[in-house]
């Protein structure tokens, strides 16, 4: 477990084990630096971390700007080019030109089958996947804080109840539960004459992932809170008459920021891959809504495998880069917060 910086004596110069002073811009005189500032200094020095952060930022930027990009590019991911531009396809919907129909017009080629534009589909897919995963992460973090800190701080019956709830939810096989519950959750909202709206699927995806995603974070936060609860500064706060709410907000939460940040940078790529897995299995986002996992599902069909392996390249490489970058970023954040564990 990481050492809560504040517990080391908030605001005072850095503790031992650090061998960084001496070089760098702030070398000369001893000056007070907040743990956050220290973390930032250490993080900036980690080249891998900085590159990863830029890559991750780039993905989020693409997701955010997808409509703008596609407007400039002049295409959207819903146009069935196999019907609009039949000369580019054979009768099975495989692009006639080599490498999946990559050309100056279609930068990443065309999707075998209905012939969607791969470039816009990919950036919109990133948008969908990141939006869902980010929402799940935020929901999971909030739930983890509320339940984890409550359990750790209150202890006793509350701790027992939340602990058993966590045990119970951890015992449910997550992937199987997703597959079984997604259609049920979706069908709860469907009206008989209308198409299942995409937002219903999105909400259902977020809901099932959130339900089974918060436990590990909750447990970690509970443990952290539990160890903090007995510390002197908490006791001092209690003796001085602070309310529980104030103690949690002002004393405990700032001290669990480290595990929280580190865990959530690990959680988010996991949710991205889990969401992709669900769509891959056909229970998540379905056509024509663009989605990363759905592109993998398409890429794994015999039609694509045998005729247009290039297609696999774009969702595959982009997801590998994203997940690695995010994991490396998580490592760097962790290292920056807690340099001892890295060396």
């Amino acid at each position: 477990m990481t050492s809560p910086p504040k517990a080391e004596g908030g605001g005072t110069p850095v503790v031992g084990g650090e061998r960084e002073p001496g070089k760098g811009p702030e070398g000369g005189q001893v000056e007070g630096r907040s743990p956050g500032r220290l973390m930032w200094i250490r993080f900036k020095r980690d080249r891998v971390g900085v590159v990863s952060a830029f890559v991750v930022g780039f993905f989020f930027l693409i997701g955010l700007l997808a409509p703008l990009i596609s407007k400039v590019y002049g295409k959207d991911p819903f146009t069935v080019y196999a019907d609009e531009r039949p000369e580019l396809f054979d009768s099975a919907g495989v692009p006639v030109q080599p490498n999946g129909g990559i050309s100056g017009e279609f930068w990443f080629g065309l999707e075998p089958g209905n012939g969607y534009d791969v470039f816009t589909k990919l950036i919109y897919g990133i948008r969908t996947s990141l939006m869902i995963s980010l929402t799940v992460t935020v929901a999971v973090v909030l739930t983890g804080i509320v339940l984890g800190v409550t359990a750790g701080y209150l202890g006793g019956k509350a701790d027992f109840a939340i602990g058993r709830l966590i045990d119970f939810l951890l015992a449910i096989p997550a992937q199987l539960f997703f597959i079984a519950s997604m259609p049920v959750v979706v069908s709860l909202f469907v009206s008989p004459r209308d198409e299942t709206p995409t937002y219903v699927r999105v909400v259902a995806l977020i809901a099932v992932q959130w339900l089974l995603g918060w436990m590990s974070l909750g447990r970690i936060l509970r443990g952290a809170t539990l160890s903090l609860r007995e510390r002197e500064f908490i006791e001092a706060a209690r003796v001085s008459g602070a309310t529980s709410e104030r103690i949690i907000r002002k004393e405990i939460l700032p001290n669990v920021v480290t595990p929280l940040l580190v865990q959530s940078t690990y959680l988010l790529p996991n949710f991205v891959t889990a969401e992709a897995a669900l769509s891959f299995l056909g229970v998540g986002i379905v056509e024509p809504t663009p989605d990363w996992g759905q592109m993998f599902a398409k890429a794994s069909t015999e039609l694509v495998l045998q005729n247009d392996i290039t297609y696999m390249f774009f969702p595959g490489v982009s997801m590998i880069i994203f997940v690695i970058a995010f994991n490396l970023l998580g490592d760097s954040v962790r290292d920056a917060f807690d340099p001892k564990s890295a060396r």
Binding site: V80, A92, N99, G113, R193, E287, E302, F313, G316, V317
Partner: protein, 602 residues
């Protein structure tokens, strides 16, 4: 994780990405070659009308296959193990594939060309395809001399009577029911009341229904004219079963063969061995050959497996072929683009025709202009693409398929052959004339990868014409139950229909007769048109098959131009492949696959 570990992790991931880069190059296009030309000839040969053959045409032996040799063992790689061996229980395509080698009926289809494209209905066990009198109410058959079961017993009219009477027994539920319904003059399963226990309790059909005046003569008497009897009797379900050897339910495990081969062993789900039936006399059979000594059948071979084995063409697979399996969609282009492999393939039509049904019971779809707008707007290319392209699906014109007598290849009511991606401009105009622009259209689709793919693209095409398309997914298991309910929520949905024999009498009446509308019935669009109903009654009484075929085609045209209850999407096709030592390979359009009766080992 330590820093060192992290670098290894990164390196491995980069390698993985590199592998993707390397594999990420592909050549364009899927199917090479010009299948188009061959398909045109396929379609052309289908215009030939099927005749009912006379005594000369029904006399054996069958014309020899050019270059055929006797002897050798052949391998069949099949997917589905037959659940039934009793011919009266056989109806599905997969089960019927081996039946032509084993069982004979009163009539059969004789291929009159070596490519399996032209056919004639001839007498198989009978001397001709049947003598009709009394305007189609009476059919007389005479049995040939020298026809025997595999146990050596001669086939007599008693066996024929028994074969048809046992169809009424309660344990026979899987076979076709046309003949029984004609005999009892009822629809549905009420025919069983005619002879509730079959012949097993000593009761028989009265002479007013089925008459066997002597050992060689069988006479059918029907209350209403029956024009399609020779077609129906050629179905495997109406093959002849020995009275003496009938073991009732147990017959399903060990049937007695009448054809050139008999079952030596059968392990359900695993294998079957067919050997020559020495009691079969080629002189009595105008349809079958007996070149191969032995067939080894292996079951549980999925399409990819059998295709890969036959592509590899090594060992016993060189003498391998599959009657059920087609070349799977993924390997199709590879097979067709390699001339060496392509030469080992045959292609042809399956009997199914796909159609988008327009639910005529919906008030907003009562307007013919709206239905026409749907028909013109609908792109059929998504459907063709989803099933593997031109080699697996042909853009359809009418509802009568190329495998059915009377097919008209020039009929193209909605211009789909010229504009398969639809005509949104024309559709938009029609919809505006009807004043229904932006109307909501609920499109039910079957939740399979194909269904998802074609429905999204079709919806996109319909949207261009101004429809507000609402796609509704239905699970594959209950799809047909849902769409065949009278009160359903769906405006348009896709179904396909296959003819039971090459006459439109098994296509148009069950799918468009307004008097047959019921939950679970096959009139999916719920057409109820007075002219259609009366025409069905009229054409059903025409005894000349050639004349009837042209009349059915006229009704097909009326339906699609005046009623507009459906939009035909595609004629199903398939490509099958065989090992290099398989001779006599031909795609039989009536069987809907490779003809096993003419195969020989090179």
């Amino acid at each position: 994780m330590s820093r060192g570990g992290r670098h290894v992790y990164a390196a491995v991931s980069v390698l993985a990405a590199g592998a993707l880069v390397l594999s990420g190059c592909s050549k364009g296009g899927s199917s090479g070659g010009d299948n188009h030309k061959k398909d045109d000839t396929n379609a052309k040969r289908q215009q030939a009308l099927i005749k009912f053959g006379d005594v000369a045409a029904s006399t054996g032996p069958a014309a020899p296959v050019p270059g055929a040799k006797s002897g050798g063992t052949m391998e069949f790689l099949e997917r589905d193990s037959p659940a039934h061996l009793d011919p009266a229980q056989i109806y599905t395509f997969a089960e019927a594939t081996l039946a032509p080698l084993l069982h004979r009926g009163l009539t059969g289809y004789k291929a009159t060309s070596d490519d399996g494209g032209k056919h004639e209905v001839v007498g198989d066990l009978a001397t001709d395809s049947g003598t009709v009198s009394d305007g189609g109410r009476t059919w007389k058959y005479t049995l040939k001399e020298g026809i025997k079961f595999q146990d050596g017993a001669t086939i007599t009219s008693k066996d024929v009577r028994h074969s048809f009477e046992r169809l009424f027994a309660p344990f026979l539920t899987k076979g076709p029911t046309y003949l029984q319904q004609w005999m009892a003059d009822t629809a549905g399963t009420d025919y069983r009341k005619l002879l509730p226990d079959g012949p097993y309790q000593g009761k028989h059909l009265p002479d007013s229904v089925l008459e066997t005046p002597d050992e060689h003569t069988v006479v059918f008497h029907f209350k209403k004219p029956v024009t399609d009897l020779p077609y129906a009797l050629a179905m495997t379900g109406y093959s002849i079963v020995e009275e003496k050897g009938d073991t009732k339910e147990k017959y399903d495990r060990a049937p007695l063969a009448t054809g050139p081969y008999k079952i030596q062993s059968f392990k359900s789900g695993k294998s079957m061995v067919l050997v020559k039936n020495d009691q079969w006399d080629p002189k009595t059979d105008p349809i079958r050959h007996q070149y191969v000594d032995r067939f080894n059948v292996t079951f549980n071979q999925q399409y990819e497996m059998s295709t890969k084995a036959l592509i590899a063409d090594s060992g016993v697979d060189r003498k391998g072929v599959s009657l059920q399996n087609q070349v799977d969609a993924g390997n199709l282009s590879r097979v067709l683009s390699d001339p060496k492999m392509k030469s080992r393939t045959v292609a042809g039509y399956q009997p199914y025709v796909g159609q988008i049904n327009i639910n005529m019971s919906k008030p907003e779809l009562k307007d013919k202009k709206v239905r026409e707008a749907i028909a013109y707007a609908l792109p059929v290319t998504p459907f063709v693409r989803a099933y593997g392209g031109e080699a697996a699906m042909e853009v359809a014109g009418g509802l009568i398929s190329p495998t059915v007598s009377g097919y008209d290849p020039t009929f193209d009511p909605f211009g789909k052959k010229k504009k398969p991606a639809g005509d949104p401009a024309k559709a938009k105009k029609l919809l505006e004339e009807a004043g229904k622009s932006g109307m909501k259209l609920t499109f039910a689709y079957v939740n399979t990868p194909e269904g998802q793919q074609y429905s999204t693209a079709m919806a996109e095409g319909l949207k261009k014409a101004g429809f507000d398309v609402q796609r509704q997914e239905l699970p594959a298991e209950t799809y047909f139950d849902e769409v065949s309910k009278i009160h359903n929520n769906f405006d348009i949905f896709h179904t396909s229909w296959g003819a039971d024999w090459p006459s439109a009498s098994t296509v148009l009446p069950p799918t468009t007769d307004g008097r047959l509308i019921a939950d679970g019935a096959h009139n999916y669009p719920q057409v109820n048109d007075a002219h259609v109903n009366s025409e069905i009654d009229r054409i059903s009484t025409i005894t000349d098959p050639v004349k009837a075929a042209t009349e059915w085609e006229k009704l097909d045209k009326y339906l699609l131009t005046e009623v507009v209850h459906a939009v035909p999407t595609g004629y199903y096709k398939q490509v099958q492949i065989a090992g290099s030592q398989v001779g006599g390979l031909a795609y039989d359009d009536v069987l809907g696959g490779i003809d096993p009766r003419r195969l020989y080992v090179k």
